[in-house]
């Protein structure tokens, strides 16, 4: 797979075939009467997918290729994910002794967006391959997901590695989902104009990371949607995103894109499923 656009100072190309499974969902109303049983069935299916290499939360995706819950692997020289590797990889309170063998550390997670958007929850999982992503969405639908949610699934391969700076905090419970399509002006731009644009945007992205945003990198979505790509940020809160968007507007990020943004608050999928 070729890259949609080139690497930058902030974003480094990712190896492999891992594939985003983004979902934009609306709760069905009325909710089915057996949500408890559906939640249990989906929990079992998600356990199976996790065992097949799926990552089921933005937090886990931000951790990248580390062993689940284990200590950081030795980074190769010059590797730029060392900030991510230094971040705590725990779903237990700080100071609590965790065990490497503890199951379910990667808790299936969605983000509640219903307070300000036309969808109730959004989220991103990551599958080991596009085939696994496609088959897995079907399995989830058949295990009961479709009884509870009306869903737009957006699938596509990882392009850039996560960017997690020292200011990022794992306890931050807000996330910002940014879907982008390049517009006809970008399509008509020269390679030099696109490079200059990427450099301008990098100024804003570097500022975002300094302000505490942890960015999942970039996944392309153009093979199976109308969007070109998505980036998801774990952020300290809505005010930080507001400041960030002003900076992105200042550097003219949006002159070349159509964007759709969702902001949501971290919620366990199981809680979302069981909500009355």
């Amino acid at each position: 797979m070729s890259l949609l656009s080139e690497e930058t100072e902030v974003f480094e190309a990712a190896p492999g075939q891992r594939c985003a499974v983004v979902f934009l969902v609306r709760r069905r109303t009325p909710a089915p009467g057996d949500t408890g049983r559906t939640a249990a069935a989906l929990g079992a299916e998600l356990d199976a997918l996790r065992a097949e290499g799926w990552w089921l939360s933005v937090d886990r995706i931000l951790d990248g290729e580390r062993p689940d819950g284990g200590e950081p692997e030795e980074a190769s020289p010059g590797e730029r994910t060392e900030d991510a590797r230094a971040a705590p990889c725990r779903d237990v309170p700080a100071g609590t002794e965790s065990t490497r063998a503890a199951p379910h550390r990667d808790v299936p997670t969605v983000y509640a967006t219903g307070f300000s958007h036309d969808v109730d929850y959004v989220g991103m999982f990551e599958a080991p391959s596009p085939s696994s992503a496609l088959a897995g969405t079907r399995r989830l639908e058949e295990a009961g997901w479709s009884r509870v949610f009306r869903t737009a699934w957006l699938l596509g391969q990882r392009e850039f590695l996560p960017v997690v700076g020292p200011a990022s905090r794992r306890e931050d419970e807000w996330a910002f989902f940014a879907l982008w399509s390049w517009n006809s002006a970008w399509q008509a731009a020269t390679a030099q104009q696109r490079r200059a644009y990427d450099e301008e945007c990098d100024v804003a992205f570097a500022s975002d990371v300094r302000d505490g945003a942890a960015i999942t990198g970039r996944h392309r979505l153009d093979g199976a949607s109308r969007w070109d790509h998505i980036g998801v940020w774990r952020v300290p809160g809505v005010a930080m995103v507001d400041r960030a968007m002003r900076e992105h507007a200042r550097v003219a990020d949006f002159k070349f894109t159509t964007s759709r943004h969702y902001i949501g608050r971290r919620t366990r999928l199981d809680d979302a499923l069981r909500r009355k």
Partner: protein, 104 residues
């Protein structure tokens, strides 16, 4: 086995109409080469249909691919060949609804 269906909706960008016929033909040739590579790699093209006026796009192509990876690779090569500079798009990937997958 071609288990994966891939639907490609398209609409020409203004830039496409502004190309000379010769330039359009040159680009079409580049896109055709990528489609033929996909066919050689196991895809099958079921047709290209005119659907203008029923949505945001004017045409839809129906393809079958051996896998989602093949579909994404096909699209990635078209993009690299300049396809999206000429056409807006919306794509979908899916698997056969029937027969239903046996339950475990």
């Amino acid at each position: 086995m071609n288990d994966v269906v891939w639907l490609h909706h398209s609409l020409p960008r203004t830039a496409w109409f502004e190309l000379t016929p010769e330039e359009q033909a040159r680009r079409e040739e580049a896109f055709r080469a990528q489609r033929e590579l996909s066919l050689r790699q196991g895809a099958s093209r079921q047709g290209r249909f005119h659907v203008r006026g029923q949505g945001d796009y004017s045409h839809v192509e129906i393809w079958y691919f051996p896998s989602a990876e093949h579909a994404f690779d096909h699209w990635s090569r078209l993009v690299a060949a300049g396809y999206t500079a000429c056409f807006e798009f919306s794509n979908q990937v899916g698997t056969a609804a029937e027969p239903a997958a046996p339950s475990a």
